[in-house]
């Protein structure tokens, strides 16, 4: 498993910066002049090729669009299973993350969530999480 380099090793520029920001509640996405949203790190809008990208705040809440409960994880999440992985829609961008602080079995389509950076119980590495507004 690659080392996300939280305290040691090399940072992944763009991505680790994003996780830092998300941890402080200031997650952002990149927007091109045509209004296409995408996640960093990125120099070029994948939709139209424009290169003038600006940081814009990710909306406070997103909606679970689809989810799965993983029972057979990669070794980096061995002690975390079973856990719910979801794709949540935050408007201009969708994000993949783990639903935290709740029983995986109660996750459903349409669940409203907020971003919350959590850690893998297996490796201690930071993980993108989704915290349901209503449990």
């Amino acid at each position: 498993m690659s080392d996300s380099g939280e305290s040691e090793g090399v940072q992944d520029a763009g991505f680790d910066d994003w996780v830092d920001a998300a941890e402080e509640g200031t997650a952002y996405y990149l927007e091109c002049p045509d209004g296409h949203g995408s996640l960093p790190p990125r120099r070029v809008c994948p939709e139209c090729g424009l290169t003038d990208l600006e940081r814009v705040d990710v909306p406070e809440t997103g909606t679970v669009e689809t989810y799965t409960v993983t029972h057979v994880p990669t070794p980096a999440f061995e002690d975390d299973a079973p856990y719910a992985t979801a794709i949540a829609d935050f408007g201009p961008v969708r994000i993949t993350g783990q639903v935290v602080g709740t029983d995986p079995d109660v996750v459903e389509d349409g669940l409203e969530v907020e971003l919350e950076i959590t850690v893998s119980q297996t490796t201690g590495e930071r993980v993108i999480g989704f915290d349901p507004l209503v449990r």
Partner: protein, 388 residues
Amino acid sequence: MSPVRVAGAGLTPFGNVPERTGRDLFAEASTIAFEDSGVEREDVEAVFYGNFMGELSEHQGHQGPLMAEAAGVRAPATRYESACASSGVAVRDAVFRIRNGEADVVLVGGTERMTNLGTAGATEALAIAADDLWEVRAGMTFPGAYALMAQAYFAEYGGDREGLAHVAVKNHENALPNEKAQYRSEITVEDVLEAPQVSSPLGLYDSCPISDGAAALVLTSEAYAEEHGLEAPVAITGTGQGGDRMALHDRDYLARSPAASEASEEAYADAGVDAGDVDVAEVHDCFTIAEVLAIEALGLESVGEGISAARDGRTTADGDTPVNLSGGLKAKGHPVGATGASQIAEIAALLAGTHPNSEFVEGATTGVAHNAGGTVASATVHVLEVIP
């Protein structure tokens, strides 16, 4: 467009042989392919070779020349990496090379050695086909990604795990007479539904196994086949490739595979056929939901209808368009770098009447092979036809 003849094909048994090296597997597959073809090794002008996880499983990069050597061929050799579609793209370039008139004989195929990594290691290795930063680090696995698609499909079009279970049951049944298949055992819908969950709604029997194996094809120009009096009634007449965003969450569709649709449209146009002409298909069923998405993308089923195709007998051996008569990835096995070439070998044998399941497609003239990489960020489709 001049057809490209499938002069010979060779497969190792697909299965669990952790001690066998990649070079040994490819040597076996290519030896069978040469014997089948009647082509001399010295006539090979290029080797195109698919492999995905060689660095992780064998600490071996730069596999092109190694595999040419293993096959006993002196020719420039290139490795293709496109996740589980690695040898599909290798075949596509081999077809172009021959069509362009730049080669008359190409050895193309692929190998994967996976079981020596163990289940956890192979799960981790397969995961690198996804976006490492935004998917893998969030805990998404390869089965997990397909599970997200299955869940999205159920929500959008309906269907349930039972529909998927019929896909697994069908493909196990098809594998029974296939001596190269990893699983040659009948299973029931209940077996699939009761199996342990891997990533809900997908269980153990919704997933293909971790496999070792190799596949090789000897492809030739029409002129070479005629000149050498080769027995090669089946030709590749169409090729197509499509692409999509790497991360599932960045796609326009979570419950469709546009990359496969693009690939099939291109391949059909190239061959001058349409979906209605297809008599038999081998599709990339790494998970049961993948077969559903594939047959819809290929136009064999309408969007939202694929989930009932196996259950209602449209894609079973005795159905109108049998799908995965080899047993598919599900039962035949999925040594990822070998899969695309192996599918073409299966279709060629089915159309030539030399496959153990050829009786189900007697008189068939047109087949397709669909090979997908990752969560279908890559896809290739090839059309094969009988041209006596």
